[in-house]
């Protein structure tokens, strides 16, 4: 025990100044259950009081952050072996990695429980404990460089006819990374086209990699495949460097998160911007002016990777994210009225698509999205706006008869110009 000025203080320095330690994080869980609920200050109704989709859908505590800390601790300490629990992979993979638990835990503790879950997934893959449901997607990623189960040859189709620099042959200040979803989903691809056009019209020196673009590797990483992240990061960093780019812009929040928070440790020094930052900046600088009124009541869904997960953890500091930029954009569009859902910003409900859930557990994935659509419907909004193709696709696929319109924020901007 450390005695200082007559005071009895913790002997373990971790309890005086936080640093990352897998076991200490898992051990320190107090089972307070704050991770399962929206920040108590912010609960506005009984109906929308939960923050953890996994806990709400699968019910048993093992499918909550708290339970995962207990199971992680048992595995770390060797009191539970892989062969002891047929449910083990489900425990760690039936999680959207949305980070809601993590943000709520940080309200009361110095902890990074999401990082524990991430590290346990990496450990599972490293130990050969692979989720069979992820294998087809991973096989396709390795062969075709995308998460969409599509042939690589189709990657550049979204930009067909678009007059933009091809950075495999030319150079530009800014590279626009479309990402797998915008590249292969024909319904969503127009958003990427609009984004590029908006930036070009604002005079930005921009280019794309087209069919030679590759996956960011972020989703594979969240499934536990660290090696795939490293591979794609090295590939993308080299391609952007060769193109002379200084800045990477994307309209996908998963890619944005990977580029901004995972790539620096792998050598990236690029400025990383999500399209909402760019558009917000253009509006403020007067370079983007709206000419049409869009009479629409909308609500905004914070994508997890753009919101609370766009955050470098410093104990005690606010869980920042790109919360204001999309709201600024929406509010600046003539005729659009923004009404907020109950769960927003750092305590937003997830769309359901993240963490490998979409690829492995379609019922859970759909449940999570439908829960959000119900919450959006309760606001009276006619449209649900987001800033991530994974969220948009998930909502579109889960409307289940709802008349709610679903838009990417770029589409909304396009309607006003």
């Amino acid at each position: 025990m450390v005695m200082e000025k007559g005071k009895s203080l913790p002997k373990d320095p971790w309890h005086r100044k936080y640093y990352w330690d897998l076991r200490k994080n898992a051990w320190n869980c107090a089972r307070c259950s704050v991770c399962k609920w929206v920040d108590s200050w912010e609960v506005k109704s009984a109906r929308f009081a939960k923050i953890c989709p996994s806990s709400l859908f699968y019910l048993f505590d093992a499918y909550s952050c708290q339970g995962r800390m207990d199971v992680a601790l048992a595995l770390i300490d060797g009191t539970l072996k892989y062969e002891d629990s047929p449910a083990l992979l489900d425990i760690f993979y039936k999680c959207n990695m949305c980070g809601g638990c993590d943000a709520m835990c940080k309200r009361v503790q110095d902890m990074e429980p999401l990082r524990v879950i991430q590290e346990m997934r990496t450990r599972l893959v490293g130990d050969g404990q692979l989720l069979p449901l992820h294998m087809p997607v991973m096989d396709n990623l390795r062969k075709e460089d995308n998460m969409m189960m599509k042939p690589k040859a189709e990657r550049g189709k979204w930009a067909k006819g678009l007059k933009v620099k091809d950075l495999t042959r030319e150079k530009a200040e800014v590279v626009f990374h479309a990402g797998c979803n915008f590249s292969f989903d024909e319904t969503l691809g127009k958003t990427a086209r609009t984004a590029v056009t908006l930036l070009q019209n604002a005079g930005v020196d921009i280019g794309i990699m087209g069919k030679d673009e590759a996956c960011c590797g972020c989703r594979a990483y969240e499934m536990g495949y660290q090696g795939e992240l490293t591979k794609y990061a090295e590939n993308n960093i080299e391609a952007w460097t060769n193109a002379g780019a200084k800045t990477v812009v994307t309209a996908c929040s998963d890619c944005y998160y990977g580029f901004k928070h995972l790539y620096p440790a792998l050598g990236s020094k690029f400025e990383v911007l999500h399209i909402v930052e760019f558009i917000d900046r253009l509006i403020k600088e007067g370079k983007l002016k709206f000419t049409k009124t869009v009479p629409l009541t909308v609500t905004y869904h914070d994508p997890c990777h753009l919101g609370r997960r766009d955050h470098v953890y410093v104990p005690g500091e606010a869980i920042m994210g790109l919360y204001d930029q999309p709201r600024n954009i929406i509010k600046s569009i003539p005729g659009v009225e923004l009404v907020e859902m109950e769960r927003i910003k750092e305590y937003a409900w997830c769309c359901g698509a993240g963490g490998g859930v979409k690829e492995a557990y379609p019922d859970f994935n759909a449940f999570t999205a439908q829960e959000r659509i119900e919450e959006a419907t309760a606001t009276g909004a006619a449209a649900l706006v987001t800033a991530c193709p994974w969220c948009e696709r998930n909502f579109l696929d889960s409307l289940n008869g709802s008349k709610m319109k679903v838009y990417d924020i770029v589409e909304l901007v396009q309607q006003a110009i």
């Binding site: 025990m1 107090a30 704050v34 609960v43 505590d61 005690g316």
Partner: protein, 527 residues
């Protein structure tokens, strides 16, 4: 543990027949998630349940209890979180009831009560109640806790000065007894009458839910209760600003007004609170010790220890009375109470804290006592805390109980972490009784820490027994170990337990250990 033997398989199959396969589990990995808790007293939580069951209704619970009686296996229930040690699996075939599907909430705003099932949190009740101009108490463990559990066990609430010990607010109760019968109390006993009234019929069985800790599930499982609601003079949605963990809440000045004022001694602070209670003013009244300010205010380890070692709170809020005046009726009520309070402060020699201290505390933490208390931050300090003395007694006895707790603290510091002599005095029922609590931070690290806590706990219980202090540690200890010091209450409890739970299946290690009593001949056969 006989995981996987024939009896285990049979029980599992029968549970599945009742609930369906998706609502029963016996996977060892899943069981790990029910193996630890905030105190992490590993010697209490070392066992693992063999089954976790997720009933959806009172009838489901009844079926499980009947099954438990048929196959003689233990059952306990645990809702949102904190004190798993009160239902540790210390016997084979133990089945835990996790009530997550029992999460219905109904507010009767006209008659001012809420009907809650076990997995409804206080925050949910509050959010719905506030929309209707009503409020219920705030559990000191944080409002992510189960409203039902908090109201029938422990019953400590942040606004209990005004709303009273939580169990007093319990109206109709639906209860599955350990023998499988369903008991409905109060007006609920009449199928047409609803939940509005608590007492009767006949002897009021709610007495079994009251006392310091309730019955910990050892006398059955409460599946639904109605709790009384009080008028809320604030906005329908709690006004907040900022992003977690840097949150702020500013309440309308006209109807909520905090005062924080200090005294040279704790005794003088207690006397001032007694005077305030006599005047029946205010909605919340506390005397928090400096460490509590630090606990609930600090947003990180570093902030906690740097602030504590700077003596900031110790210098500014020692023996500090904190009161929030509420304009239940109108702003004029606050104006009137303001005058009364100033007179009391003047007459008792209270000194207001500096404005900087007030601004640091009130919007960031004090106002949150209406909703959450930030109670879970108590676990941050060294990863854990421990309740040495928690007692509901009179203001007169506060100092004596506190001193008993401080003696233990002094003996075990270090390794107990620095905390001064914590003295939380919280008048309940306008000061007619009071919660007196001594909590201390500990460094939750390893088995050594556990052993220290174990020794300290045993020492504390021994002293409480010698001094006849009915603390929560005493009440959470099986009555067969403590009853002799308290008018042989264990014999009465044993009689009740035997009558309601002939097969001793309901949380059999807690409240009272009937097996141990039978072995020692204290209770045998049908006596």
């Amino acid at each position: 543990m006989p995981f996987g033997d024939d009896k285990h398989k049979l029980i599992y199959k029968e549970l599945v027949d009742i609930l369906g396969p998706e609502y029963v589990c016996d996977d060892r990995g899943l069981m790990e998630a029910y193996s630890r808790e905030s105190q992490s007293l590993s010697f209490l939580t070392r066992g693992r349940y063999e089954f976790v069951a997720l009933p959806a209704s009172t009838e489901d619970v009844q079926q499980i209890i009947r099954l438990a009686n048929r196959y003689k296996f233990p059952v306990s229930v645990f809702s949102t979180g904190l004190l798993m040690a009160i239902c540790s699996a210390v016997k084979p075939y133990w089945c835990l009831i996790d009530p997550k599907r029992m999460n219905r909430l109904h507010i009767d705003d006209e008659n001012m009560y809420a009907i809650v099932e076990p997995y409804v949190t206080h925050a949910q009740v509050q959010a719905e109640a506030m929309k209707r101009g009503l409020i219920n108490g705030t559990p000191e463990a944080g409002s992510q806790s189960s409203s039902l559990a908090n109201n029938i066990a422990f019953g400590l609430q942040g606004i209990a000065y005004r709303s009273g010990f939580a169990a007093r607010n319990v109206l109709g109760v639906e209860w599955v007894l350990p023998n499988g019968e369903i008991l409905r109390t109060g007006s609920l006993a009449n199928p047409e009458a609803g939940y509005f009234w608590g007492e009767g019929p006949g002897p009021d069985a709610r007495g079994l839910l009251r006392a310091a800790t309730g019955h910990l599930g050892a006398l059955g499982i409460i599946t639904r209760i109605a709790v009384k609601l009080y008028p809320w003079p604030g906005p329908p949605v709690l006004p907040t600003e900022g992003l977690a963990p840097v949150k702020k809440c500013e309440l309308p000045e006209g109807t909520f007004k905090w005062y924080l004022f200090t005294y040279p001694t704790l005794g003088e602070a207690i006397e001032a609170m007694r005077e305030i209670g006599k005047s029946e003013i205010g909605g919340m009244l506390h005397c928090w010790p400096p460490i509590y300010y630090n606990w609930w205010w600090a947003k990180s380890f570093e902030e906690y220890w740097s602030t504590w070692t700077s003596d900031y709170w110790q210098r500014n809020v020692n023996n500090c009375v904190a009161i929030c005046l509420w304009g239940f009726a109108s702003e004029k009520q606050v104006e009137y109470e303001d005058k009364v309070l100033k007179q009391i402060i003047d007459e008792t020699g209270g000194k207001p804290v500096p404005d900087e201290v007030y601004q640091r505390w009130v919007p960031y933490t004090a106002n949150n006592w209406l909703r959450d208390t930030n109670g879970c931050r108590m676990m941050r300090t060294g990863g854990g805390y421990f309740m040495q003395v928690v007692i509901t007694d009179s203001l007169d006895d506060a100092l004596g109980s506190l001193e008993s707790g401080w003696e233990i603290l002094d003996k075990y510091t270090p390794p107990v972490l620095d905390c001064g002599h914590p003295a939380w005095v919280h008048p309940y029922d306008l000061g007619h009784n009071a919660l007196i609590e001594v909590d201390f931070p500990r460094q939750k690290t390893d088995e050594d820490d556990m052993n220290t806590v174990r020794l300290l706990l045993a020492d504390g219980i021994k002293r409480n027994l010698q001094q006849r202090i009915a603390s929560h540690a005493i009440a959470a200890t099986p009555y067969n170990l403590t009853g002799r010091a308290f008018a042989n209450i264990h014999l009465i409890v044993a009689g009740i337990k035997k009558a309601l739970d002939p097969n001793n299946i309901a949380n059999p290690s807690r409240l009272i250990d009937m097996d141990a009593m039978a072995k020692t001949g204290v209770i045998t056969g049908n006596k």
